[in-house]
Amino acid sequence: MSLELHDGPLHVEEITNRWFNEMRDKNYGAYIPFIGIVRDEDGISGLSFDIYEPILNSWFDTWQKKAQKEGAYLLMAHSKGDVPNHTSSYISAVVSPQRKVALKFINDFVEDFKASAPIWKYDLVDGRRVYAKSRSTALKGAGLLK
C-alpha cells in the first residue's frame, strides 16, 4: 500500500523526491510520475476535494495487486480540502523493471482513477465550493435507487 492523503496542496518536491529515494535501490529500471496541476480557468481560485477513504483504499489495493502481477509498483498521493490554482492535488507514479510496462500502467491506472476513485471535486468560486457535476463520472451501478 502506498497511498497517501494530504490536507491542502501537495508538496510535490518532498513527495516525488521521497518516492524516488525509496524506489531507487529496488532495481526498477523505470520510474514514471504523473503530477496534476490545478489550472486557472473559468474564474476559479482553486479546487476542493472530498474523499471516501474506505472504498478508495480497496480500489487502490486492487490496482496494487494488478501492478504486482506485472512486477510493477504503484504510488499515489491526493489532496483533501482546498487546493489553490497552480499547485498540485494529485501525484501518481509507477515503477517497473521495464519502461513499456510502466508507461502503459500509468495511463490505465490514471484513466480508471478518474472513473472509479471515490473522490468528489468542487470548483472554488468566490470562496464557495461548487460541485463539478458536469465533469464527474457516475460509478458502476449508478441509478439503482431511482
Partner: protein
Amino acid sequence: MIKVEFLGPLNREPIEVDIESLSDLKEMFKDDKELQEWLEICAVAVNDALVCSLDTKVKDGDKISLLPPVCGG
C-alpha cells in the same frame, strides 16, 4: 439499525433505518423530491462494496453509502 450515509456533494447527515433490502430503501426515498434527482446518478455501496441489485439484503449493523459521480485529480 442500518446506517445510511450520503457522501460528497449530497451533503446530508447520516440516518438510521430499519429495512431488510435495498428495495425497502428505494421505497423509503420515493417521496424525497430533492434526493430523487441525485438517486438517478448515485451508486450504492453496502459495507464499502459497490452493489448492483435491489435484492441486496442488509442486516442490523450494516452501512449503506450513496456515492454521487466522482472526479479525482
